[in-house]
Symmetry: C2
Subunit: 138 residues, 2 copies
DNA sequence: CCCTTTGATTGATTCACTAAAGTTTCTCGA
DNA sequence: TCGAGAAACTTTAGTGAATCAATCAAAGGG
């Protein structure tokens, strides 16, 4: 690696560190852990099977079971069996969950704050570079 | 936020997610948790007081106590009192710790892999943009 | 010398995560 | 159609990370 790449690696580290810390704080504002906030974020439109969530979050299914259980007791998500295949449990976000998710999103100012430091031109440039870096994602 | 910024925010999220996952995996290769690997990374040249580590890692001092304790029993770090101020414990990395740290660094291919997808020109460009984004770090 | 502050530890609790069974439901082939 | 096996989720047990409150020991200041 060249010196440029070394400095760049450090910058990426700093970015990730700051980003993670900011996300933790945003989740905490809503009384959630980062993992819980992340789960809410993955509950799009309707309802999703546990297994899908596990693979998206890249963690064990039993981990999702526990996460969902904790959040279910707090009324943030709901579990309903899939009538077509009763092995499958569909997880959906409740209105209360939607509220909490809104709070998290509102408190997570990091991206908009930092990206606002760049001009439109620069943002397009950065997007292009990140696209190239992430292109062949494993 | 514009549509460009939205897409960009998603790209940054993806980058951070992939980065975190890769770091976890690299640490695991060396039999460490991410937190432990991170601690080793903060043990530069000689030895550092616990308190300094806590503030750098942005966590409670008691958390560092536990981390260091676990790693001390595994012979990766050492604790020595500071003769000038005997309240202070200085943490240093052992030769074994250095070995393990080398393994982590070797297994953490994410930055070099991804940055290698960019030309020198593009890397300089990215570095400039990140510098601007991280400039006024809180 | 007390008294306060500082640095680190201890104890208790919660959450995230993993691994290893265990349960229910489905599927498919004989 | 029945039974073996797979699939999807749950349970249990154990570990690590993290935080908070309380404690302890050493400095330092009046």
């Amino acid at each position: 690696m060249t010196e440029v790449a070394d400095a760049l690696a450090q910058q990426v580290w700093d970015l990730v560190f700051a980003y993670d810390a900011a996300y933790d704080r945003a989740a905490q504002v809503a009384g959630l852990s980062a993992a819980q906030a992340c789960l809410l974020e993955h509950l799009a439109g309707d309802s999703r099977p546990m297994g899908e969530l596990a693979s998206e979050l890249q963690c064990d299914a039993s981990n999702v079971t526990q996460l969902v259980s904790r959040m279910e007791t707090r009324g943030l998500v709901a579990r309903t069996p899939n009538p077509d295949d009763r092995r499958i449990k569909l997880v959906s976000i409740t209105p209360a969950g939607r509220d909490v998710r809104r709070v998290v999103r509102g408190a997570f100012e990091f991206p908009s704050e930092r990206l606002a430091l760049l001009t439109d031109q620069e943002q397009r440039l950065l997007s292009g570079l990140l696209g190239k870096m992430l292109g062949a994602t494993s």
